[in-house]
């Protein structure tokens, strides 16, 4: 396929596969040479083959729309995103550092709160944090770890620098799609794996199982680990099932679990009740246990918090871990790294204005047309204002909301997200991407080599969420050579 580079994108953005003069970057050389060797027809056939495979493998995500749950085929672009191994190793180190600091912060917050006493983190921010759980104060989970699984969103700016956009510590999803994307690429571009040294990602489920097994309250070789799903209509059900299958764990719903009089958790099996040691829960805190949180939750298990507090069952992530998954707390993570680890942060944050600080709020209000405003506790790209493209009315509405609830808003400059060549119709065009690597912490740490690359398929758009027209790509960490 001849790629018409003279019409390929402008130089305002960092493209991950080609440099400003449209020459292939070193790790992408083989791929681009290979793409050029294929006819447009062949490329189209492979894209179609991938799409058919997606339908047949049933790789779907669920969208709730017009009163119905619809299973949509996972959107996938066959051109992989490539990152050089030495670049990635630094990112990997930065993510480990960040995860450690986050866990130390959460443990501190539910423990002595030294970080507040030392005036590194303001107390008033904790007081109105939506994800702080009073019920968790004083608990010491196994290994001192609260967040066992983290999905951090990274972006690359116009210089190609990696920046952290947010840390998802509640129930981050996407890892199954990361793995399926690799399976698809192997099917479609099998030839490329012969000569290129691409870091494998297939052992994530094993690492996840080891992480979960490490926090079992009963020390044993094969503790009973289960994945707790809200059910088949949840948008990430595919992933819950995928992970249970690949770990050889039971996939349970709330109705399958009971807490006995001995404060232990049991699942209902055909042999009668069977003890559960570790629950990888994919249900938000507030739905976990109707006795402790929302009374109307039918997804959870009555008494679960009691069992957890007694140390009879491990929950991953621990309830309350989401306190660090907050866009205001996010702004303090570089300080946490310095405070807890006595290190300089390897991965920088995106510059962030906290509206709760009077002078920063004034700056935000005066510059709404150039900033991105986000609510502190939303995910999925909802409830955001993208200043430069918003209407006057939308900006006025956000100004009102910010003044009403300053704690709940942050603002960031619009980062010029990097691009990757993407197949659009019969041509290859640049599209903006982000990256979600997954980090595990139990008795050991693990970072996925690469992660899930999401791509905004609409021209010029930076919204990568699959529920809003985003697609995905396989991500290769390629060794030099």
């Amino acid at each position: 396929m001849t790629i018409n580079w003279s019409e390929y994108g402008d130089k305002e953005f960092f493209d991950e596969l080609v440099d400003a003069r449209h020459r292939p970057r070193a790790p992408a050389r083989d791929l681009l040479r290979y793409l050029e060797s294929l006819s447009s027809e062949e490329i189209r056939e492979r894209q179609q083959a991938a799409e058919i495979a997606i339908v047949e493998m049933g790789i779907t995500f669920t969208v709730y729309s017009e009163g119905e749950n619809i299973d949509r085929a996972w959107p996938f672009d066959i051109i992989p995103r490539i990152i050089a191994a030495d670049t990635w190793d630094r990112v990997d180190a930065g993510l480990r550092q960040r995860m450690q600091a986050l866990n130390l912060f959460i443990a501190d917050i539910y423990g002595k709160q030294q970080v507040i006493k030392d005036k590194v983190f303001p107390e008033e921010l904790l007081a109105n944090s939506a994800n702080f759980r009073q019920e968790c104060v004083g608990i010491e989970p196994p290994l001192g770890v609260w967040a066992h699984i983290c999905g951090s969103d990274l972006i690359r700016d116009h210089k190609g620098e990696f920046l952290v956009l947010e840390d998802n510590l509640r129930v981050p999803s996407g890892v199954s799609y990361m793995m399926e994307n690799r399976v698809l690429t192997k099917r479609v571009f099998g030839e490329l794996f012969e000569d290129t040294s691409i870091r494998p990602i297939g052992d994530y489920p094993t690492k996840l199982f080891d992480t979960l097994a490490a926090i079992s309250p009963r020390p044993m070789d094969y503790p009973e680990v289960v994945v707790l799903t809200p059910g088949i209509y949840n948008s990430a059900y595919f992933e819950h099932s995928f992970l249970a299958q690949h770990m050889g764990a039971e996939l349970v719903e709330g109705q399958d679990l009971i807490v006995g009089d001995d404060d232990c958790v049991y699942m209902r099996t055909i042999r009668g009740p069977q003890r559960v040691d570790v629950i990888y829960r994919r249900i938000d805190d507030l739905f976990l246990d109707p006795d402790a949180f929302r009374k109307d939750s039918t997804l959870g298990v009555p008494g679960l918090m009691r069992a957890w507090r007694q140390g009879n069952v491990a929950l991953a992530n621990a309830p309350g871990a989401g306190v660090a998954d907050d866009k205001v707390v996010y702004a303090f993570v570089p300080d946490f790294i310095r405070y807890y680890l006595d290190q300089e942060p390897i991965l920088p944050n995106v510059p962030t204005y906290l509206c709760y600080r009077e002078e920063e709020m004034q700056h935000v209000l005066q510059n709404l047309d150039s900033l991105v405003v986000k609510p502190a506790n939303e995910s999925g790209g909802y409830g955001m204002l993208i200043g430069p493209t918003a209407t006057k009315k939308e900006r006025a509405e956000f100004a009102r909301r910010i003044k009403h609830e300053p704690r709940n808003y942050i603002a960031q400059p619009l980062i010029r997200l990097s691009t990757v060549p993407t197949i659009i119709g019969d041509a290859v065009e640049p599209r903006h991407v982000d990256l979600r690597p997954f980090i595990l912490q139990g008795d050991e740490m693990y970072v996925t080599p690469g992660g899930l690359t999401r791509v905004a398929l609409r021209k010029g758009s930076t919204v990568v969420n699959s529920s809003q027209g985003g697609g995905s790509k396989d991500t290769w960490i390629v060794e030099a050579g």
Partner: protein, 317 residues
């Protein structure tokens, strides 16, 4: 194994078998009808009646013509026994137990469902129907074969097999009943077509060859009925399918009550003398077998699927 999951794989087995059998039933009946002269006045209505869904049918259609009946049995999603509806349910059950089943199960199941969804309407015309039905039968067997060949023979597999065999028992009785239905109005004047009818019944269950090999007579009604109800070796005969189901029950924990119930069914099949029954008696006997299959199902559900928190707590104590 989780009770909820046991229930889902059991139903998966039933729905796959149901889809296959619905396809067999339509195939057999269509072939039977083609052989019969118009003067015998066979209608399509008995086909809808056999599946026990005549009320549902008349609620949606005015005429029992070929197109309506075939559409009802193959394509209508409001009929839970149709091929499309069964496969939709089977697919949903596979989708929600994917973590337990061999990976390819889901891919094959999904592909089969998509194939049926896309092609079922063209199968309403006689031209395409035969190929379509054969394809459905073959691909359902492919899935049961895949499970038999790649799944550990653990509780999950026993539940799948249990579902398959109970559904098979039920459907074999219905297919035999379909012939009884056709013969009843003209029982006083046996015709040359009768043996043709029984050949088709055998063929619809892929039983013709085995019948020939194991029963040393011509194809005559009494012998065919005996073979399909009581032969211990043919996998689609009632006696065999019930013993298979019984062996699944034996392999499962806490199975005393369902075993008791299925032994009664086994005895009933074994001790029957279909040769000495009139067509009406045979029809009533088959009706009875069907309700006993239902009772076995009820007992299975009570034992393994409906563990409420009270039973669970009693057991944990």
């Amino acid at each position: 194994m989780l009770s909820r999951v046991a229930e889902r794989v059991y139903w998966m087995g039933r729905y796959i078998e149901r889809a296959e059998n619905a396809a067999r039933l339509v195939n057999a009946y269509a072939t039977e009808v083609m052989d019969l002269p118009r003067s015998l006045g066979t209608g399509w209505h008995s086909l809808a009646d056999i599946t026990g869904a005549s009320e549902l049918f008349t609620g949606h259609y005015q005429n029992y013509d070929e197109r309506n009946v075939v559409k009802f049995l193959l394509a209508d999603t409001f009929n839970p026994g149709s091929v499309l509806a069964s496969l939709k349910m089977a697919r949903e059950n596979v989708r929600t137990t994917r973590e337990l089943l061999p990976t390819e199960t889901w891919e094959h199941m999904n592909r089969l469902y998509l194939y049926v969804k896309d092609n079922v309407h063209s199968s309403l015309s006689r031209k395409h129907r035969f190929a379509f039905l054969n394809n459905v039968i073959f691909r359902c067997q492919q899935i049961s074969g895949l499970l038999a060949g790649t799944m550990s023979y653990d509780s999950a597999y026993e539940f799948v097999r249990l579902g398959i065999n109970l559904e098979r028992t039920d459907m074999t009785t219905r297919i035999v009943d379909s012939a009884v239905f056709l013969l009843m109005p003209r029982k006083d004047e046996p015709s040359d077509y009768d043996s043709l009818l029984w050949v088709n019944v055998l063929k619809s269950l892929s039983a013709y060859q085995m019948y020939r090999q194991h029963v040393y007579t011509r194809v005559i009604g009494d012998e065919v009925v005996r073979f399909l109800l009581q032969d211990e070796q043919f996998p689609r005969s009632v006696a065999r399918a019930v013993s298979e189901a019984a062996s699944c029950l034996k392999a499962l924990p806490r199975s005393d009550t369902p075993l008791l119930r299925i032994s009664r069914l086994q005895r009933r099949v074994k001790e029957a003398e279909p040769m000495n029954m009139s067509l009406e008696e045979l029809h009533a006997f088959i009706d009875n077998l069907q309700s006993e299959v239902n009772e076995v199902h009820g007992q299975i559900a009570a034992t393994w699927f409906l563990i409420d928190s009270e039973t669970a707590e009693q057991q944990s104590a």
